[in-house]
C-alpha cells in the first residue's frame, strides 16, 4: 500500500493559525490528529501555587485556578521533563519553572493584577504576551487614518486590588498534556471539515428565467453562487469552497418547482453537492502557548510515538 499514503498541504499559516488539507486520508486519521492536538500535545502551565499573602476579594483556590489557565510560552517545552519521569526527588529546574508574583496596591486607584506581573525565574517559560497587539497594524490598505494606534498588551487579568490589598505568591509551572487538565491544551479550536464539490446543472439552469436565476443564486447564505448579468449564467465562486452543505439551494429549487411546474421534481436537482472522498481541511487555532505549525508537528510526532509503542511491544513480547 506504499502509493496509498496520505498527503498534507498547507493552505495558509501564521503564528496562531494554520489551515491545511489532508488528502487520500481516512477520517479516522483526521480525527486522531484533532484529538491528539487537543489533548496530547505537551505544553507548560502553572500546576502548584503557594500563596504567601492574599487579601484580595478572590479566595486562594480561585486565584490558583486562574493562574493555571494563564498561557505560558511553551516553545521550549521539549527541553523539560515530565516531573513524574524526572530523576529528581520532588522537582528541579529540569522539570519545573518557578514564577513569582508580589504586589500590594498602595494608591487609591484600583489596580489590575495581570499575567505580565508574573516574574519567571526561567526565561524559557514566560507568560504569553500578544505580539499582534504590541505591533501597530494597518487596515484597508495604506490610508494613514486607518492605522490602529499601538496598544500595549497588558496580559491576562488575574484579580483587581483595592487600596491596601495584597497578593503575594509562588507558582510552579510544569510540563503536561491536555488529557490531564485542559489548561495544558495548546489550542482554542481545532476543526476538520469535508471539502465540498459543487456542480451546477447548466442545461437545467438555462430553462430558468433570468430573475429566477438571480433569486436562486442569492438563496445561498454562504454566497457560493454568483449570477453574471452579462453572460446570464450562474457560476460557482471559488470552487464552492464556502459551501456549508446547508441545502438552502436545493430547497430554493424545490420552491421554484412548486411555482413553475407543480408536482414535478426538476429544479431541486439544479445543483449537485457532494463531498470529495478522502479529503479533509483541518484548521488549528493556537491559544498562544505554541506556534500553530509546531502544534501540528508535535501532534504528528505523538501519533507516531503511540503507534510505535504498540509496535515495539508486539515485536518484543511475541514473535
Amino acid at each position: 500500500m506504499a502509493s496509498n499514503h496520505p498527503t498534507i498541504e498547507i493552505v495558509e499559516v501564521d503564528k496562531d493559525h494554520i489551515k491545511f488539507s489532508l488528502s487520500n486520508a481516512d477520517s479516522s486519521l483526521a480525527n486522531a490528529l484533532r484529538r491528539v492536538i487537543i489533548s496530547e500535545v505537551p505544553t507548560m502551565a502553572i500546576d502548584l501555587v503557594e500563596i504567601h499573602a492574599n487579601s484580595s476579594v478572590l479566595h486562594d483556590e480561585f486565584v490558583a485556578h486562574r493562574l493555571g489557565l494563564i498561557p505560558l510560552d511553551s516553545t521550549n517545552v521539549g527541553q523539560f521533563n515530565y516531573t513524574r519521569e524526572c530523576s529528581c526527588n520532588r522537582r528541579c529546574a529540569l522539570c519545573s519553572v518557578e514564577l513569582r508574583l508580589d504586589f500590594k496596591c498602595e494608591g487609591e486607584q484600583t489596580v489590575n493584577v495581570t499575567s505580565s506581573m508574573l516574574y519567571s525565574e526561567d526565561d524559557r517559560v514566560v507568560p504569553v504576551v500578544s505580539q499582534d497587539m504590541a505591533r501597530p497594524t494597518r487596515q484597508n490598505g495604506d490610508d494613514d487614518d486607518d492605522v490602529v494606534p499601538e496598544v500595549e498588551d497588558t496580559g491576562v487579568l488575574i484579580v483587581k486590588l483595592q487600596e491596601g490589598q495584597k497578593l503575594s505568591l509562588r507558582a510552579i509551572a510544569k510540563k503536561g498534556v491536555g488529557k490531564e487538565h485542559a489548561k495544558w491544551s495548546p489550542v482554542s479550536c481545532v476543526e476538520f471539515q469535508e471539502v465540498p464539490e459543487v456542480v451546477i446543472n447548466q442545461d437545467l439552469m438555462a430553462e430558468l428565467e433570468e430573475a429566477d436565476k438571480e433569486e436562486w443564486a442569492a438563496s445561498c447564505p454562504s454566497k457560493v453562487f454568483r449570477y453574471d448579468p452579462v453572460s446570464r449564467q450562474v457560476e460557482v465562486v471559488e470552487n464552492g469552497r464556502a459551501c456549508t452543505f446547508c441545502r438552502e439551494c436545493t430547497l430554493k429549487g424545490e420552491l421554484l418547482d412548486t411555482r413553475i411546474n407543480p408536482g414535478e421534481d426538476r429544479f431541486a436537482k439544479l445543483v449537485r453537492i457532494t463531498s470529495k472522498p478522502k479529503e479533509y481541511i483541518i484548521t488549528v487555532e493556537s491559544c498562544g502557548t505554541l506556534p500553530a505549525a509546531d502544534i501540528v508537528q508535535s501532534a504528528l510526532a505523538v501519533i507516531k510515538e503511540k503507534l510505535s509503542n504498540v509496535q515495539a511491544e508486539m515485536n518484543g513480547a511475541w514473535q
Binding site: 496520505p6 503564528k15 486522531a32 490531564e180 505549525a293 501540528v296 501519533i303 508486539m314 513480547a317
Partner: protein, 120 residues
C-alpha cells in the same frame, strides 16, 4: 473523592502489559487484543486501517468502561493470515503514513519560512 487520578489515562501502571492477546476459542483465526492506556484516537485509527486489509474479515474495537483505560481490539482474518500479522501490518502502515506526513509538513514549513522570513 472517588475520582480516579487523571494521569492514569496515560501512565501505564507497573507490572501491567501494554498489549496482550487472547485467542478466540470458538472462531478460527480470531483474537482480541487488549491495549492499555489508549483511547479512541488509536482504536479508531487501527480499526479503519485493518478494515482496508483484504485479509481481515472482521475488525472492531471497544472501550468497555469509561473509567477503565484500556481498549479491546478484535480481529478475525482469513486462514492464510493471523490477527497478529494483520495488526503488525496495520501498525507499520500507519507509522509509515504518519512519518511521510511529518516529513512533508516539515518540508513545506521550512519552504514557507524561507520565503516569508521569520514569521514566528
Amino acid at each position: 473523592m472517588n475520582e480516579p487520578e487523571r494521569y492514569e489515562l496515560f501512565v501505564l501502571p507497573e507490572g501491567v502489559e501494554k498489549l496482550s492477546l487472547e485467542k478466540d476459542t470458538k472462531v478460527p483465526n480470531a483474537a482480541t487484543f487488549t491495549i492499555q492506556c489508549e483511547d479512541h484516537t488509536l482504536g479508531n485509527l487501527l480499526r479503519m486501517n485493518l478494515l482496508e486489509n483484504d485479509k481481515v474479515l472482521f475488525a472492531g474495537y471497544k472501550i468497555p468502561h469509561p473509567l477503565e483505560n484500556y481498549l479491546l481490539l478484535r480481529i478475525q482474518t482469513v486462514p492464510e493470515s493471523t490477527p497478529s500479522a494483520a495488526l503488525q501490518q496495520a501498525l507499520s502502515d500507519l507509522v509509515q503514513s504518519v512519518a511521510v506526513l511529518e516529513e512533508t509538513f516539515k518540508e513545506q514549513m521550512s519552504g514557507i519560512k524561507s520565503r516569508e522570513g521569520t514569521y514566528l
